[in-house]
Amino acid sequence: MPVLSRLASFGRNLFARPRVERDLDDELHACLDELTDEKRRGGMSAPDALRAAGIDFGGMEQVKEEVRQVRSGRMLEEFLQDLRHGARTLLKNPAFAVVAVLALALGIGANTAMFSVAYGILLRPLPYADADRLAVVYMRYFPRDFAFGTMCMRDYLMWKDNNHAFQNPSLFQSLRMDIGGHEGVPEQVQGAKVTAGFFSTLGVPALIGRTLAADEDRPTAASLALLSESIWRRRFGASSAVLGQTILVNGSPATVIGVMPTALRFPRRDTEVWTNLTLVPPTRYGPWFYRGVARLNPGVAMQQAQSELNHIGLRMMQQNPFYKRLTLAVLGLRDAVLGVTLKPAILVLAGAVGLVLLIAVVNVANLMLARATVREREMALRLSLGASRGRLVRQLLTESVLLGLMGGAAGLALAWGGIELIRVWNPGDLPLIDSVRLDGAALAFMVFLSMLTGILFGLAPARESARAELNATIKEGGRSAAASRARRRVRSALVVAEIAVSLMLLVGAGLLLRSFVKLQGVSGGFTVAPERILTILISPGNRKYNDTTAGLAFYQEVLRHARSVPGVEAAALTDSLPPDRQGDADTFAIEGQTLSPGDIDPIISDVTADPEFFHALGIPLLKGRSFSSHDTQDAAPVAIVSEGFVRRFLNNQQPIGKRIRQSGPGFGNNWLEIVGVVGNVKYLGLTVDTDPAYYMPFAQNYGARMFLVVRSSGDATRLAPALRREIQSIDPGITLAQVSTMQQALQVSVSQPRFDTMLLALFAGIALLLAAVGIYGLIAYSVAQRTHEIGVRMALGADRAAVVRMVVRQGATLAAIGIVLGLAGAFGLTRLLRTMLFGIDVTDPWTFLSAPAAILIVVLLATFLPALRSTRISPVVALRYE
């Protein structure tokens, strides 16, 4: 069989090369001998016959080479030859190889890591059936101005009645749930209440047991619970006996009907319990707790669904005059899970890391060009020995691709470390971080990138080398002046590009860094040091504490026990905490102020706090009095407002004695008299500018779930175990959750800006390092090349300072050009950062001045070392240098 025979010879040519070669040699020599014999039989003398046969036969080596050319596997063989040659060349010059591989490893590694992050978060298919068709529906209206806000049950029913775009719209609410029961210590977990269609909409079947049946969101349905795989393993020992068992959810019994696989991470990444939301027919509007999730009907596009929802929104507004400017917003499931800030940040970071790779490539190209000069003679020699130029280019490209792959392999290790680092930096904050991993896609990306970079930085030097002028090169002893001048210009241009690109990255990192420092400098509105404040969320569990009298008595006990713990300076209660753990927000009205037509009641934070709260956190009392133990249930209702409240809603008039009330639907005519003014506190996050708030006394506005706030004399974390013990000694059924210091809470609230800033700063740092290596290499090389010239200059009387000036000027010129180009680029590109900045403008002058200064310093340092070395050149040695 021809195919088999070809395969066999292919294998022989590759793996039994010595035997194949020996056979060829034997065969050809036998032929030559045979020919010689014939000549002798024809009557020639022995030497004549030998000579004639040789002439007839032709060159032995040429014939062999001709035969080798037709062998199968020739291309592969040449490729392996190039590879061996390339590896040998790299080994011969380990310094070059190490620097190049390191530069590439940094570039490719950072890119592979970032690719994994971007792919995992933005592209990897979500683990739900046909996830592109899933959408989340939000409601936005004034006065409650949340872009991705919630709706109430009445709104849902209206949506469902008028819906054509979606299959079976479902409703969900994310909330904290206290889970207790026979199985162990009560704990608080992330939970969700969902309607019956929720699981079938997402298309996730239960791991064991079942999901909700179609009628299990009716008003009369029993309370049911589904567990995540994680809580099932943690609390129930992964036993299937859990099915049918009754657990306590927020103090009420619910029957476990199923366990959901880890793949289900909705509505939140850490949701561990789902209970059935029962659709009790609403008698009024509110509460606004819910968002919708639904699957698009076949053939319906997201835009069509949006326009249908626009119509439904208009009808909702007509039916309820409380709603102003209402819109129903629909987002694809991925966008809903990611939120609005992460995607642009990841795209910016991916762009930045691409620039880092660009710098690495430029750097290695520069090294290759420098080496090309050294290898000029090798190339010329090979050309003159008959190698074709195409063959030389192929060989040099094989070498650079080999280098690229070595860099990629080293980069893979870096990428792996980088991804682990990102996980550590982001304990649970980045959504979809679980789908970030180094996998086949990342590996393919890395290999592709390595080969691409290998070709990129190899092509120009390879073509240049193969174009070498044979005569000039060999005659001039390896120094063709014109070629090397052209090459120096190319190398200078590359270094200028490096400086420009790293400046752009540095400016971007500088902006984020400045913004982050500003963010860290924002006061939460309290004066006590954040590491001295410990907060614990208390859920009493037992429903008897829902009663105000029992509850108040319980919390008096909690405070008494807490204050007895050594190291506790103050203990207080609140339902809201800075920086972003606000409790409620609602509309309110001020007595005597009537709204102009079309205007609406504002919504602001309303906080329930006990008398000690302001003192414990160090929130300054500016006017009037704080709450006191006399503000009881039976006393006249009072309120305290913030400074921002007075400025924004009272026109800075005297606030004490004015009356306000909560004005949303369902609130009565319960006027509260303002008795004091306190400083502003950031309940909506550090980045929210004005945050007016009003406070109501705990005794007059009781709620069962409260934060205990403790001020410690030292490090507050040490108090946690003692406090836990004390509080649970009151009632072991109490759930304690979110135990953290204010310091930790502040850290978590800025974790995404911190993530963005650290990554971009890291990338800019790598870029700067690479650029410094690049310019150092260029200058050092040019000094080495100009040794002769410098020697002459010094022999003719130039002093050391003049020589240093000359070398440094070369570097400074390149830096100046690079900085001008880089600043222009930065002005254009930093606009992309606008949404990521806080407190500074994208053209922040401080950044735009200090980043170029930093670059200039680094460049001058990188230039100065070779410049100094040049002054140590002795004229005598230099002139003999040839």
């Binding site: 069989m1 021809p2 195919v3 088999l4 025979s5 070809r6 010879s9 056979d23 034997d26 065969e27 050809l28 036998a30 032929c31 001998d33 045979e34 020919l35 014999d37 014939e38 007839d56 036969f57 032709g58 040429q62 014939v63 001709e66 035969v67 050319q69 037709v70 062998r71 199968s72």
Partner: protein, 108 residues
């Protein structure tokens, strides 16, 4: 006598034809071709051996070491079944072309 430049296809056909009756070593093939063509085709080793190796890899020829008529070790080539089929089809092809060209040249 000047040797005519051989077209590659012609060389293959001539080698196949030379080996049609018996196995031969390289030099003998070269002599046989010269003899068959009345000396018109003188195949040099530089063309002969690459062709032989190429045809061997294609599976038309097989080779084995043997003894030459002068008691020297030599590599003998012989046609395989595939080689015979190749000879047949190349012969037919050649005859078609030769006929066509002959009639083209005879046309007035």
């Amino acid at each position: 006598m000047p040797a005519t430049n051989l077209l590659q296809g012609t060389l293959d056909l001539l080698i196949l034809k030379a080996l049609a009756l018996t196995e031969m070593h390289g030099l003998a093939i070269s002599h046989r071709i010269a003899q068959m063509t009345g000396g018109t085709f003188q195949v040099k080793p530089g063309s002969l051996f690459p062709a032989l190796h190429r045809m061997e890899e294609a599976g038309w020829l097989s080779a084995a070491w043997g003894e030459s008529e002068n008691n020297r070790r030599a590599r003998f080539y012989r046609l395989t079944a595939a080689g015979r089929r190749q000879l047949k089809s190349e012969t037919e092809q050649w005859e078609t072309i030769a006929l066509a060209i002959a009639s083209a040249l005879q046309a007035s």
